[in-house]
C-alpha cells in the first residue's frame, strides 16, 4: 500500500478531531493543554504531508543544469518547525499559568478558572 497525501490528511484530521474533542470536553487543565498540543501536531502533520506531496508532483526541471541539483521544496517542513517552536512557548506559558492557578485555587479544573468573568 502506498501511503499518499489522502492517508496523511485523514490521520491528521483524526488527530485534530481527537484534540478538539478533548479540548472541549476534558476539564483537567493539563489534559486541555495536551489536547492543544495534539491539534498543533495534527497541523504539523498536514504541513509535512503537503510538503512531501509537493515534492512528488514537482515538475521536472527544464534544463540540465537545474536537473543536476533538483529543488526539493521544504516550506512545509520549515513551517512545521515554527509551529513546534510556538507550541513549546505556548506549553511553557500555559504550564506556568496552570501552576499558578493551582497555587491560588488548589485545583486544576478549568471550570473553576473563571475569575475574570466577574
Amino acid at each position: 500500500m502506498v501511503v499518499g497525501l489522502g492517508h496523511i490528511l485523514a490521520l491528521a484530521g483524526l488527530l485534530f478531531a481527537l484534540g478538539a474533542a478533548g479540548f472541549l470536553m476534558r476539564r483537567n487543565a493539563l489534559v486541555v493543554l495536551m489536547c492543544v498540543e495534539l491539534m498543533l501536531n495534527a497541523v504539523n502533520l498536514t504541513l509535512i504531508g503537503f510538503n512531501r506531496w509537493q515534492a512528488s508532483v514537482a515538475q521536472p526541471a527544464a534544463d540540465a543544469a537545474a536537473a543536476a541539483t533538483p529543488m526539493i521544496p521544504h516550506h512545509g517542513q520549515v513551517f512545521a518547525f515554527f509551529v513546534i517552536a510556538v507550541a513549546a512557548a505556548e506549553a511553557a506559558v500555559g504550564l506556568a499559568i496552570v501552576l499558578s492557578l493551582y497555587r491560588v485555587r488548589k485545583v486544576l479544573r478549568t471550570d473553576d478558572a473563571n475569575l475574570l468573568k466577574e
Binding site: A20, D111, L116
Partner: protein
C-alpha cells in the same frame, strides 16, 4: 513746494508719515505695562508696579505729544504745498486736505466686502486731527489718573491687578482711537468693555459689585451686536472696512456703493429669505408695511448708533453706568467719565461723513441724546450719593455730546468730549479724594463742611463744578454753548425740540451740581457722629469704597479720636486735582465762539478736514448765536442761583417742603428711584428671560435632553444585560463557540455559489452582462439561449449580441444562461430574460453611449 517757504521746525518731524513707528509704541507701551504688572507685579512689589504703571502710560503720553508735533509738521508741510500750488497758477481756493500719519503693523485678515470681493484688514494706526485730539485727551488724562491711583490704591492689596487692568484699558482705548479700520476699532471697543467689566468688579468678593460689572458687560454686549451688524452692512454695501476707504467711497460723486446704501431694505424679503424652508415662507403672514422702512445706510448707521448707546450710556442702554460706580473711583474717572464712555461719540465723529447723509438717523441721535440728557439730569437731582450724582451727570453730559452729533455738529460734540474729560475727571477724582479722606463716606447726608478740612480738594472741585455748569469763561461754557447754538440753528427737523430739552437739562445740571458742591463742602461738618468710632471704616451703602476695611484702618486719620477731622490727601492726589482743575479752566479757549472772535475757532479749524458736518454760516447767524449764549447763561444762572437759594439761603428747607407736600411726594420718590427704569427693565426683559431659562433648564433640559441622553445609556445597558449571559468564564463554552463559528464559516464556503446576472442593453441586441462575483468562482455563459453552456466564454463580464426571440405580446427578448462553479466544485445555474427595445432591430450603434 515754494522754495521761499521758511524752514519750519515741524518739517523735521514730518519726515515719514506713512510708516511712523512712534504710533506703534504709543499703543504698545501700555500693553507692556499691563503684562509687566500682571505677570510680575506681585513679585516685584508696590514701587515697581507704580513705576511701571505710570511710566508706560506717561511715556505713551510723551510719544503722543511727539506724534502730535509730527502731525502739526505734516499739516504745515501740506499747507505750504497747497499754497505753493495755488501760487503756481491754479488760483482757486482748495479745502484744507486731510493730513494723516500712519503706521501699519501687519496685515491681519481678509474679509468679504460684498459678493465675490474682499478687502485686507490691517493692524494699522492712523493719526489724523480727530484721533489726535482723542489721543492727547486719553493719554494725558490717563497719565494723571495713573498718578492719582498710586495715592488712591496705596492701601489696597490688589494694586498689581489694578494697574495691570488700568494699563490694559489704556492699550485697548488707544487701539480704539488710532484704529484705521472699524474691525480694529471694534477690537479696542471690546477691549475697553472687558477692562471696564474687570475694574467695575475689581472688588469682586462683594457680590453686589461683581454683579454691577456683569450688568455693564451684558448691557454693552447688546450694543455690540449693533456695531457688528452695522459694520458688516457698511462694509458689504460700501466695500471697505477701513475708514479711509469708506471716506473715499463717500467722497466720490455718484458712487454706486453710496447709491446701494440708499436702497431700501426689503425687510420682508430679507426675513423671508432668512426663514424660508424650501418654498415655504414662515413669515408670509406678517404685514411688512407696518415695519418702518430703512435704507441700507440708515440701518447700518442706526445699528452702529445702538452700539454707541451701549458704550456711551444713552437711552435705552444707559442703566449700566450708574452701577459702574462700584469700581474704584479713579476707574470711574478714567473709564466711566473721561474716556471709554465717549467712545460712542468718537465713533460717530469717525463716521461723520457717513452720518451726514442720513438725516433721519441724525434726528434719532439728537432726540435720544437730548432726552437722555434731561432724564439723567432729573435723576441726578435727587441722588444721595456723591458718585451716583456724578454718574448721572456723566450720562447727561454724554447726552449733550450726542445732541451735538445729531444736529450735525460733530466737532462741537468732540469739543465737549474734550472739555468734559477735564472737568469730569477732576470731579470724580475730587469725589475720590473726599471718600479717601472721609473713611469712604459718600452719602451727601453724612458729608458737609469739608471746605476747611480739604482746601485743595474743595477748590479744585469747585472749579470743575463751575466748569461743568457753564460758568462763562470756563471750559464747559464754550463747549456747551456751541452745542446749544448748533442745535438752535440746525436744519434738523428736531432742532428746536432738542434745543429746548438741552437747555432744560443744562439748567438742571447747574442746579444739581451746585447742590452737590454745597452739600459736600459747605454747611456744617457732621463729623463721624453717624458712625460709631469702633466700627472704624465699614463700607457704606451700595457703592462705597470696597476695600474699606484695609483702607480706613491703615490710613493716618482712620486712627485715634473719633472726632479727628479729615485731612487733606497726599501730593499725588491733590497735585492731579490741581492739574485737572487748571485744565478745566483753560481747556475751553481753543474753542472760542465765533461771536467773540469773528473767525473759526482753533478746534473747529483743526477738526474740519477730519470731520464732516452740516455747514453753518456763523456770519449770518450772529443773533441766533447770541440768543443761544444768552439762554445758556440764563440756564446757568437760574440753575445755580436756585440751588444757592434752596440749599444755602434756606438750608434745604424748600426741598423738604416740596417733598412733604402731598402732590410732589410721589414724583420725588419716582425721581429718587431713577424713574424706576431698572425695575421696568427687570420686568420686561430680565424676568421673561429668567422664566425662559427656567423653562429651558427645568423642563426642556431635564426631561427632554436628559431623557434622550439617558435613553442612549439605557439601550446599551439592556443589550449588555442580555449579552452578559453568554460570558460564562468557562473556556470550554468559548472553545465550543469558536468551533461552531469555524464550522459555519466552512459551511458557508462549501455551500453552492450564488448565481445572478446583471445586464444592460447597449443597443439593439447588444447587451452587457455581469455575473455576481465570489471567491474562487468560475463562470460558463450560455449567450445564445440554446441551453448549452459555452465553455469558451468564461469571463465574469461579457458584452455580446444575444439571440432575440419573440415573446407573447410582441415583445422581443433574449434568454441568457449562466453556470457558476466554486472552488469546491459545487455549481449553480441561472437563466435570465432580457427585455429588448420594442422597435425592429437596427444597425448597432456602438459608442452612442
Amino acid at each position: 513746494m515754494n522754495p521761499l517757504q521758511p524752514l519750519h521746525f515741524a518739517n523735521f518731524w514730518a519726515a515719514q508719515t506713512d510708516q511712523y513707528r512712534v504710533l506703534g509704541w504709543i499703543v504698545l507701551l501700555p500693553l507692556l505695562g499691563a503684562l509687566l504688572n500682571g505677570l510680575f507685579g506681585k513679585r516685584f512689589g508696590r514701587d515697581f508696579v507704580y513705576a511701571a504703571g505710570v511710566a508706560t502710560v506717561g511715556a505713551s503720553f510723551l510719544l503722543s505729544l511727539l506724534a502730535f508735533a509730527a502731525l502739526l509738521g505734516a499739516e504745515h508741510h501740506a499747507a505750504a504745498q497747497l499754497a505753493g500750488d495755488a501760487a503756481a497758477g491754479a488760483g482757486e481756493e482748495h479745502a484744507r486736505p486731510l493730513v494723516q500719519i500712519s503706521y501699519t503693523v501687519w496685515d491681519w485678515f481678509r474679509a468679504p466686502t460684498g459678493a465675490g470681493q474682499s478687502a485686507m484688514i490691517k493692524i494699522r494706526y492712523v493719526l489724523d486731527p480727530l484721533s489726535a485730539v482723542m489721543l492727547l485727551v486719553v493719554t494725558g488724562v490717563g497719565t494723571l489718573i495713573h498718578v492719582y491711583s498710586t495715592g488712591y490704591m496705596a492701601h489696597d492689596d490688589g494694586y498689581a491687578r489694578y494697574f495691570s487692568f488700568l494699563n490694559l484699558f489704556m492699550f485697548s482705548m488707544l487701539n480704539l482711537i488710532l484704529a484705521d479700520s472699524i474691525p480694529l476699532l471694534f477690537v479696542g471697543w471690546e477691549g475697553v468693555g472687558l477692562c471696564s467689566y474687570l475694574l467695575i468688579g475689581f472688588w469682586f468678593t462683594n457680590s453686589q459689585y461683581a454683579s454691577a460689572g456683569r450688568k455693564a458687560f451684558v448691557v454693552n454686549r447688546i450694543g455690540d451686536v449693533g456695531v457688528i451688524l452695522g459694520m458688516t452692512i457698511l462694509a458689504w454695501k460700501a466695500g471697505a472696512y477701513d475708514i479711509g476707504g469708506l471716506r473715499d467711497v463717500f467722497a466720490m460723486d455718484h458712487s454706486p456703493a453710496v447709491q446701494s446704501l440708499g436702497e431700501r431694505v426689503q425687510l420682508g424679503e430679507l426675513l423671508g429669505r432668512m426663514f424660508s424652508f424650501g418654498s415655504e415662507r414662515v413669515f408670509e403672514f406678517i404685514n411688512y408695511k407696518l415695519i418702518p422702512q430703512f435704507t441700507w445706510g440708515g440701518l447700518a448707521t442706526l445699528l452702529l448708533f445702538i452700539g454707541c448707546t451701549g458704550k456711551s450710556a444713552q437711552l435705552p442702554l444707559y442703566v449700566w453706568l450708574p452701577d459702574a460706580m462700584a469700581g474704584p473711583t479713579p476707574v470711574s474717572a478714567l473709564i466711566h467719565a473721561a474716556t471709554m464712555v465717549t467712545a460712542g461719540v468718537y465713533l460717530l465723529c469717525r463716521l461723520s461723513f457717513v452720518y451726514v447723509s442720513f438725516p433721519s438717523v441724525m434726528a434719532v441721535i439728537a432726540v435720544i441724546g437730548a432726552v437722555t440728557a434731561l432724564l439723567a439730569a432729573t435723576i441726578a437731582l435727587a441722588q444721595d450719593e456723591l458718585k451716583k450724582v456724578l454718574a448721572y451727570s456723566t450720562v447727561s453730559q454724554l447726552g449733550f455730546m450726542f445732541v451735538a452729533c445729531g444736529v450735525g455738529a460733530f466737532g462741537a460734540g468732540l469739543f465737549h468730549v474734550y472739555t468734559h474729560a477735564m472737568f469730569k475727571a477732576c470731579l470724580f477724582l475730587g469725589a475720590g479724594a473726599v471718600m479717601h479722606a472721609c473713611r469712604d463716606k459718600q452719602k451727601l447726608s453724612e458729608l458737609g463742611g469739608l471746605k476747611k478740612f480739604l482746601p485743595y480738594t474743595y477748590a479744585t472741585f469747585a472749579i470743575a463744578t463751575l466748569a461743568i455748569i457753564g460758568t462763562p469763561g470756563l471750559s464747559g461754557f464754550f463747549s456747551k454753548d456751541e452745542i446749544l447754538f448748533r442745535a438752535l440753528v440746525s436744519p434738523s427737523k428736531v432742532g428746536r425740540f432738542v434745543f429746548v430739552t438741552s437747555l432744560l437739562a443744562a439748567t438742571l445740571t447747574a442746579f444739581y451740581m451746585c447742590r452737590l458742591l454745597f452739600l459736600t463742602f459747605w454747611g456744617e461738618f457732621k463729623g463721624w457722629s453717624l458712625e460709631p468710632a469702633a466700627a472704624g471704616a465699614a463700607p457704606h451703602g451700595g457703592n462705597a469704597h470696597g476695600s474699606g476695611d484695609a483702607h480706613g484702618d491703615d490710613h493716618g486719620h482712620g486712627h485715634g479720636n473719633a472726632w479727628d477731622p479729615p485731612k487733606e490727601n497726599a501730593w499725588n492726589i491733590t497735585g492731579v486735582l490741581v492739574a485737572l482743575a487748571g485744565l478745566s479752566v483753560v481747556a475751553g479757549y481753543i474753542g472760542l465762539p465765533y461771536l467773540f472772535t469773528h473767525h473759526e475757532s482753533v478746534i473747529a479749524h483743526w477738526l474740519a478736514p477730519a470731520v464732516s458736518e452740516w455747514p453753518v454760516d456763523h456770519a449770518t447767524l450772529g443773533s441766533k448765536e447770541a440768543l443761544a449764549m444768552l439762554l445758556g447763561v440764563a440756564a446757568f444762572g437760574i440753575g445755580s442761583g436756585g440751588a444757592y437759594w434752596a440749599y444755602v439761603v434756606r438750608g434745604g428747607e424748600p426741598v423738604k417742603q416740596l417733598v412733604a407736600a402731598g402732590g410732589m411726594r410721589g414724583l420725588y420718590r419716582l425721581v429718587r428711584d431713577k424713574w424706576r427704569v431698572d425695575e421696568l427693565y427687570d420686568l420686561v426683559f430680565v424676568r421673561p428671560l429668567r422664566l425662559g431659562s427656567d423653562l429651558a433648564a427645568n423642563l426642556f433640559d431635564r426631561w427632554i435632553v436628559d431623557g434622550i441622553v439617558n435613553l442612549v445609556g439605557i439601550i446599551p445597558r439592556a443589550l449588555g444585560a442580555v449579552l452578559r449571559k453568554t460570558q460564562t468564564g468557562s473556556i470550554h463554552v468559548y472553545g465550543t463557540a469558536m468551533a461552531l463559528g469555524v464550522l459555519i464559516m466552512v459551511g458557508w464556503a462549501v455551500r453552492g455559489p450564488s448565481a445572478t446576472i446583471g445586464y444592460r442593453v447597449i443597443s439593439g441586441t447588444r447587451v452587457a452582462l455581469e455575473a455576481h462575483g465570489g471567491p474562487g468562482y468560475t463562470y460558463e455563459w450560455d449567450l445564445d439561449g440554446d441551453g448549452a453552456f459555452d465553455s469558451t466564454v468564461a469571463d465574469q463580464r461579457q458584452e455580446a449580441n444575444c439571440t432575440p426571440v419573440e415573446a407573447p405580446g410582441g415583445r422581443r427578448v433574449c434568454r441568457v444562461g449562466l453556470q457558476v462553479r466554486n472552488a469546491f466544485g459545487l455549481s449553480r445555474t441561472v437563466t435570465r430574460t432580457i427585455e429588448l427595445a420594442e422597435t425592429a432591430p437596427q444597425a448597432p450603434q456602438e459608442g452612442s453611449r
